[in-house]
Amino acid sequence: MAERLKVHVDPDKCQGHARCKALAPELFELDEYGNAHEAGDGTVPAGLEDKAWLAKSNCPEIAIDVTEE
């Protein structure tokens, strides 16, 4: 049984590059300024794990955490 993943954007680090939204639109949302936060409580639906890691590894501000529950 695979671990379930959760994503979280650190709002103090995010500068609105919006790479996460481009790479994993299901997992992230942008506010009116274009800064990102995780969709819902950040739980990554089954099948989207790769996108979670991809978003993390493309964030220039290292603002995204992916944790295993």
């Binding site: 500068q15 609105g16 590059h17 919006a18 939204k21 481009a22 942008l30 009116e32 300024y33 274009g34 991809l54 590894s57 493309n58 964030c59 220039p60 501000e61 290292i62």
Partner: protein
Amino acid sequence: MSDVEQPAAHPPVTDWVHDFDHTDPQWTEDPFPIWDELRAASPVVHTKRFLGCYLPTTYEAVREIANDTEHFSSRRIIVRDVRPEITRNAAPPITSDPPEHKPAKQLLLPPFTPDAMKKLEPRVRAICNELIDGFISEGKVDAAARYSKYIPVRAIAHMLGIPESDSDLFINWIHMILELGIKDESKLLQAVQEMTAYFGGHIEARKNKPTGDLISYLMNARDKNGNPLEDTHVLGSLRLLLIAGIDTTWSAIGSSLWHLAKTPADRERLIAEPGLIPTAVEELLRAYSPVTMAREVVKETTVSGCPVKPGNMVLLSFPAANRDPKMFPDADKVVIDRRENRHAAFGLGIHRCVGSNLARMEMQVALEEWLKRIPDFRLDPAGTVTWSQGTVRGPRQLPFLLGKAM
């Protein structure tokens, strides 16, 4: 010496590590081996030119400086031969430090979100096709002068609500400010004065007759106390949008086409897999980042162990950071499907380029439309590719032959 107007020529560089000069012809032509040499020497190097200037050569050193607004100020953001007086509201928020920076930046962000860019995309697609219509039957083209140059300037004019037909006027101001202005202050001042008069007229016109464009948006904006912005702030931000929004993306589109012209394998792959274009755009942004910003050291500190002293400028080379092999495997190669790409082409920290979503959209659309209509093209061996000097690097002359080689 009778000609006082003539800017001082810089002596050629013989010792890059202790005497670098980003306006030297060798740097303009091919900076990559120079950056590798400097990086091998130290994470931070210094030159006495430009009244004293540091250059961080590694990704980490660039990140440290970009995130340290206490020791590094944005009040001066172009490294030049002179240090003129600092003017208030020069071009907020790019010339702002905390705490003024955040409100000025937040004001500009909403019109540039990815969703806002989606609305602009059809106009950009149309601009690209209008430009291609103008030369496709000729069999050859200077792709910088007739394609990449006009896409961003028309797009930003469209957003600001000023005539797209004034594009050549804007392009000339940018040239005077970002290139000629490094060594000739009078050119910079002249361009700023002309821009101020130009935008002043557009602001006046909107006082009687508001419009739905970005100029009206700024005029209607209110600060946290509910007051309208000072005229100088509106003018400064308009100057910034025009300057920052034009030759940056022009350069990025031009460098991308230059790469594709001489790399048929990448071109063919993007034609076969257009879905890969956004990933390729990120890699082209990394490998050929156009923009080098600057900071002024305002407090003594160390960067990656190197002492840094006030009174010096810092050439904040995002392009050099993006070629750091410690950060990017095969940093000197264009890997068009690179999956992990934390490149810093749009800066790092609070000064992340406000127009990054616009630039990305323009690059994607410009490459998509070009490749759809001109799948085969190559550098014209009879022509010469030339590159801009200074703060923004990109091809200014890009002679191509269109169609399959005979």
